[in-house]
């Protein structure tokens, strides 16, 4: 406990293993081995993708798949961006719009919902919460077809909204927000806000949201990744390629490989570039996330 809360003045000496129970070299070695194997397991595909992105089509088939041949990365990127009037950039933009906006709205809504469920007493609260919780169990794939039929009724298929609207719902986010709000937002603080004359909405946005930040960031990240990777919904809803997110766009290219062979390079480079925004989002947000999770665990 003391180790965790100490922030200033911590030095390497404090962390000497002598303090805790001594772990055997064997178990430590095993842990490192397992971690090493899994790290490799996760990194090798990305490495392969990166290497493949730097090769031209001939080298791709004939050279070592895990090491460089001629460096063509920038030429490949240039070709990718030029192909089909630069539709790829449009797809990336769409993905950022769907995932960014969708995750933001989902975070706000599920944050408010979870907070309300945690902090207000009303009739049917538990029934409502259990229903939402049930929603966690329903896979998005199973919902795609019914959603399509619903959206058809109101002429919203093949529009931006067809992908955005279903994405702003996050049962998991509601669940996490409720749990977290219960644990991290003291009733006294809300009382104090009321006494000071702040409205409930104001208390939520100015006080509670700050306390709930780690949970909200987590919800945002999860939802961002989920929307970014959501494949089935666009497949069902969209028919104009100007609306495709990048995952679906790359998939359509991939199914056309035998007609247009140069697409193979574009799919590889495109896939590689498409994971960059995810990595950026993760790196930017993990600071808040990790700090926050730490705080939560200690309190």
């Amino acid at each position: 406990m003391s180790l965790l809360t100490r922030t200033a003045g911590a030095t390497a000496d404090d962390l000497k293993p002598a303090r805790g129970p001594r772990e055997s070299i064997l178990s430590r070695g095993a842990a490192f081995l397992i971690m090493g194997v899994f790290t490799l397991y996760f990194l090798v595909p990305i490495w392969w993708l990166f290497i493949a992105s730097t090769k031209d089509r001939g080298d791709l088939l004939t050279t070592n798949p895990l090491w460089f041949a001629d460096w063509n990365l920038f030429a490949n990127i240039g070709d990718l961006l030029a192909y089909n009037n630069g539709i790829y950039l449009r797809w990336i933009g769409n993905s950022i719009a769907y995932a960014g906006l969708g995750a933001l709205l989902a975070t706000i809504f599920s944050g408010m919902c979870g907070y309300a469920l945690a902090k207000y007493r009303f009739r049917g609260r538990e029934a409502y919460f259990n229903t939402v919780l049930g929603g966690v169990l329903v896979p998005a794939t199973a919902l795609a077809l019914p959603l399509f039929l619903l959206f058809s009724q109101v002429n919203l298929t093949n529009t931006f909204w067809a992908v955005l609207l279903p994405s702003i719902v996050s049962p998991f986010g509601v669940y996490l927000s409720r749990i977290y709000a219960t644990a991290s937002v003291p009733d006294e603080l809300i009382e104090a806000g009321r006494i000071d004359g702040a409205s409930e909405v104001r208390t939520f946005f100015q006080v509670s949201v700050r306390l709930m930040t780690p949970a909200l960031i987590t919800v945002f990240l999860f939802q961002f990744v989920a929307i970014w990777n959501n494949f089935f919904l666009p497949l069902i809803m969209l028919r104009s390629q100007e609306l495709f997110p990048v995952t679906y766009g790359l998939y359509t290219w991939n199914t056309q490989l035998n007609q247009i062979p140069e697409l193979r390079t574009y799919v590889l480079v495109g896939s590689f570039l498409s994971i960059v925004p995810l990595i950026v989002a993760f790196l930017l947000l993990q600071r808040f996330w990790r700090n926050g999770l730490g705080t939560g665990s200690v309190k």
Binding site: R57, G58, L61, T62, P65, T141, L145, F148, L149, S152, Q153, T157, N158, L235, I236, L238, R239, S240, Q241, Y251, T252, N254, T255, Q256, L257, N258, Q259, I260, P261, L263, R264
Partner: protein, 443 residues
């Protein structure tokens, strides 16, 4: 036109089955009114929705839009048919907002017909008149063995034998003209360290092409009920032939279209490929190091001196049920698939091999191809196109049948069961799938 017939992703297959089931439940009730659709010009300007996954189709359609300000066509796109677009069609049909026109491969046309998803184009005079322009067997693919016309043929995939002329020559092996000779050549090639070809377990369409060439028929429809015959005499002959090659380790069994598969061709490990006209492109893109070393010959025959060809792939442009502009849609589909300008553009942008007899004479199809040592390979395919049996019909549940045969084939190459066993079990499951969907079936 979609070239490849990969094994279908199970999830997609499952969901299309669901969509199919959904359609069959609702569509039968509104038959009577919709069938009366007449083929008359609409008043005023018309906009048609058209779904296709052909690369560069936008440019071809733009040509049409420029010449026909009153009939504008809007292109929608997606992955290839089995990759998800068929699934979309079924959802859209169920929701009642299908596009006016859509690309459908021949082997999937029956599925849409059985679910009552297609308009009968035989109501249009121009369509009926156009029959003579098409290669007879392609027309057979869109009439589905009946009187109606459920699409306009777009392209075809007549099969011939791609082979490494350099390797055959160096090793003093004659290019086989019969399947018996093919097997003899296979033994010599194995002795020289190579494989004569790759037997792919996922490409059931290729196998069907072999059966087609042997004059076998997997399905028949007499207007009342379907007959399923995956295990007929010809199918048995073909299955047993390839089983022998597999048993004697004369063919490789890489999964098709993968890097290892490309590499097997690129490195000279595999020497021939009995494939469709579009395969020319697959080889040149997959095996770039072998440029100039390939040639094309007619497919080996079952009897010496025979002239029969199989077909692998090809698609049509169909008009979906509920389109309010049958006349205009048919007009556009005919232009797209018969006019010189459209066929030339399609051939240039996506290597479409036309389904019309006139189309086979396109200037771009008369030239020698550098990758094939300057050989005029399209002459061989044009010849093959005229030798395809016109009576081959696809069944209405091909997705399931392919998946089933493919599962069995995968087992067969690992030594569990035989190719014929796979056909037998697919025969049974196809019949039960038809029954489960209330499609009348004999036996």
């Amino acid at each position: 036109m979609q070239h490849t017939k990969r094994a279908v992703v199970t999830g997609v297959a499952l969901l299309s089955a669901l969509a199919l089931a959904g359609c069959s439940g609702t569509s039968s009730s509104d038959d009577s009114g919709a069938d009366a659709a007449t083929c008359a010009p609409s008043d005023g300007d018309v906009t048609l929705d058209f779904t296709s996954w052909i690369p560069g189709i936008e440019d071809v359609v733009a040509m049409w839009n420029e010449e026909n300000p009153n009939i504008q066509v809007k292109v929608q796109t997606g992955p290839n048919g089995n990759g998800g677009t068929y699934k979309s069609y079924f959802s859209q049909l169920e929701a009642g907002n299908a596009p006016d026109l859509g690309q459908i491969e021949y082997d999937a046309l029956s599925s849409f017909r059985v679910q009552d998803g297609l308009e009968d184009l035989s109501a249009c005079e121009d369509v009926v008149k156009a029959e003579s322009e098409f290669i007879p067997w392609t027309w057979g693919q869109v009439t589905l063995g009946g009187d109606g016309v459920y699409g306009i043929p777009q392209d075809s995939g007549p099969m011939a034998l791609f082979y490494r002329s350099d390797l055959f020559e160096q090793n003093g092996i004659a290019v086989p003209t019969t399947w018996d000779e093919y097997k003899e050549a296979a033994k010599k090639i194995r002795a020289a360290g190579g494989y004569i070809t790759n037997f792919s377990t996922a490409d059931i369409n290729q196998f069907a092409g072999f059966v087609w060439q042997a004059e076998g028929k997997w399905f028949a429809n007499d207007g009342k009920e379907w007959t399923v015959d995956l295990t007929g005499e010809e199918s048995q002959k073909v299955a047993e032939y390839w089983q022998e090659l597999l048993d004697e380790d004369l063919v490789s069994t890489y999964p098709a279209w993968t890097e290892e598969w490309n590499n097997a061709y690129n490195s000279g490990e595999v020497w021939t490929w009995n494939s469709a006209v579009w395969g020319a492109n697959s080889i040149s893109s997959g095996a770039p190091d072998t440029a100039g070393k390939w040639s094309v010959a007619p497919s080996p025959q079952w009897e010496a001196g025979g002239t029969s060809a199989g077909n692998w792939g090809g698609s049509s442009i169909a008009v979906f049920k509920g389109s309010k502009h049958l006349y205009e849609a048919a007009k556009f589909a005919l232009w797209l698939n018969t006019s010189d300008e459209a066929l030339t553009a399609l051939n240039k942008s996506a290597n479409i091999y036309p389904a019309t007899t006139a189309g086979l004479k396109l200037p771009s199809l008369q030239e020698g191809v550098e990758f094939y040592g300057g050989q005029k390979i399209y002459d061989v395919f044009a010849e093959a196109a005229s030798q395809v049996n016109p009576d081959f019909v696809w069944g209405p549940t091909m997705t399931q049948t392919y998946a089933n045969v493919s599962d069995g084939f995968q087992k067969a190459v690992t030594g569990q069961g035989t190719l014929l066993d796979a056909l037998k079990s697919a025969q049974e499951s196809t019949i039960s799938t038809l029954k489960a969907q209330s499609i009348p079936v004999a036996g």
